[in-house]
Symmetry: C2
Amino acid sequence: MNEHVIPLDAEAHAVERPEDHHDDLRLWLRLLTCTTLIEGEIRRRLRDSFDVTLPRFDLMAQLDKAPDGLTLSELSKRMMVSNGNVTGLVERLVESGHLVRETSKTDRRAQVIRLTPLGRAEFRAMAEEHEGWIAEMFCELTPREREDLMRLLAKTKMSTRRAIEGARP
Amino acid sequence: MNEHVIPLDAEAHAVERPEDHHDDLRLWLRLLTCTTLIEGEIRRRLRDSFDVTLPRFDLMAQLDKAPDGLTLSELSKRMMVSNGNVTGLVERLVESGHLVRETSKTDRRAQVIRLTPLGRAEFRAMAEEHEGWIAEMFCELTPREREDLMRLLAKTKMSTRRAIEGARP
DNA sequence: TCTGGATATTTTAAGTTTAAAATAACTCGA
DNA sequence: TCGAGTTATTTTAAACTTAAAATATCCAGA
């Protein structure tokens, strides 16, 4: 008897006390763990296989997608890091012969950054390996699951952007 | 005419050339973007509201969950950062009166780290706000979507762990 | 007991990262 | 043209982060 009685706190997942956001916190921690795990492994493999750091790889990836080059501001916006950070990264990559910088013809404040042929060649070689590594990380997800995850992350991104917008308009 | 002809590369999503992992790469970049967005905003709010850095908050969060304290190794494993990193963070948090460290009674190599009453009080105050901020970021997702995302991230985590295990046993 | 290997932590050097202040150049309206 | 406000970049100081080497301690077996 009584096996059909619905307890007051049935469906624990749906219980919502005011201000009870533990599940969201767990969701965030899991998101963070996934990213940290993948990022750490990619960092390790880039170092072991190509002796390059992840920030440098990321910066070159942005430039590879922009054949006409990018300004430092544009780079820092796309990489979501500070301006000063990009200044230092570019400095070291110019030093090592992977990038060139020239003053914009239309705006003397702006520097246009480009990959050198060496930089592009090295990046392309790394990128091919890198893409395989990433596929490896997701290999246990079905195509359907990957689509779902993509969609849910897109929604999370939009939700977060609006939360940020709302807080600092 | 011909509008019903199915082109050779119909259903772009299903087209799978050998070694074509662009979708996985996009999935990874989206995951990274979400994490970076949220992390950046949390960092900003912690600074503005409590004048604390994110790494310090994260470290205190680990200790708050472990009433008996943790060793530096245990901390670095849980935070997924290097040992040396934790050494420095703990040093500064002891300096500011938020942590205490004592040598383990059973292993003279190990330091047990604990929150001080001050550290715990300050952390609890921050954590309450923090939880609300996180909920804000996810607020446009339905409960069902949050569950799905949680599940998919769990699967991603497992998939990644095995990829890492497989590469360096 | 002694010793080799494992574990816990610290140190070191180099690089990354941020926030904030400083510098320089642009824009646009009075 | 002048000047206020904006934008692009650099500089600065402090903190964070990693990988690798160095120390110190533990542990298990000969």
